[in-house]
């Protein structure tokens, strides 16, 4: 699935739809970040909200690469729907069923005090996004990240 595929169209609600398909590889992360950044900035989203979505998607893709596609192969599909002030990104994968909203997250303070990194990705996503949705569709995990600009949150 490398090189990455991209496409865009205008949705029924006037939102811009942008699709990205990349191989589940750490070398795809830069392209994903740039695609999200370019798309949101050119549609008027603030630097803070754009960075919040970039970080959230990168964290999720890192988790997919590390845990779902660790053996290599596989792809990540990303669909953005952008209509200021709402940015929605849907990410699908074909890994085992996993709902990050039900994940038990360890207390970070104890880990940090012991010099232990890691276990921060899901927490970052949940803190930076205004809304995170999950559903299992057949053999596919579908995670949706929503960020709204102009409401003082990211």
């Amino acid at each position: 699935m490398n090189p990455a595929g991209r496409g865009s169209e205008r949705g029924a609600a006037g939102e811009d739809k942008i699709r990205i398909k990349v191989s589940a590889d750490k070398h795809s992360l830069n392209m994903i970040r740039q695609a999200i950044g370019d798309a949101m900035k050119t549609r008027g989203f603030s630097t803070l909200k754009t960075a919040g979505m970039e970080v959230s998607v990168i964290e999720h893709c890192e988790n997919l690469i590390k845990h779902v596609y660790a053996a290599g192969g596989g792809g990540i599909s990303i669909e953005m729907k952008l209509k200021y002030p709402v940015a929605m990104v849907r990410i699908t994968d074909t890994g085992p069923e996993f709902n990050m909203l039900e994940a038990k997250l360890p207390a970070l303070s104890g880990r940090i005090a012991k010099g232990l990194g890691g276990k921060m990705g899901i927490r970052t996503i949940l803190l930076m996004c205004d809304e995170v949705k999950y559903r299992r569709r057949g053999s596919v995990n579908e995670n949706v990240f929503i960020i709204r600009d102009g409401n003082g949150r990211s």
Partner: protein
């Protein structure tokens, strides 16, 4: 967006400023760990991680800083960050990292903070 680190030792202080440029994620975080290891091996015990030219910093980067801050602390040293942008500042605060990392607005302030003003 590539990633690079410029190491700027402050002679006679045992302090290194690591200027991060670009984006840190799982594809580049090993570079950060290698440079921190290099500073540690060369005897530096005070580290300023300058984020002013950093465009993106995932939790892989924060995790590496947590691990290396602990190692420097075990040797009586310290690791602080400077020049965070608004998004990095938000993660730093929301994740509760301010309890672990001192942060400064710029490198000079950070160096002053670590050396008591002796640059």
């Amino acid at each position: 967006m590539s990633f690079d680190i410029i190491v700027r030792p402050r002679l006679g202080t045992g302090l290194d400023v690591l200027e991060l440029i670009g984006a840190v994620d799982m594809s580049t975080v090993d570079v950060l760990a290698d440079r921190l290891k290099g500073s540690f091996s060369s005897g530096s015990r005070k580290i300023v991680v300058d984020m002013k030219k950093l465009e993106s910093f995932s939790s892989a980067g924060w995790g590496t800083l947590v691990e290396w801050k602990w190692k420097f602390q075990q040797e009586g040293g310290s690791l602080v960050v400077s020049g965070m942008n608004e998004a990095q500042q938000r993660v730093y605060e929301l994740m509760g990292l301010e309890a672990s990392f001192s942060q400064y607005t710029d490198v000079d302030s950070a160096v002053d903070g670590l050396t008591g003003g002796a640059k």
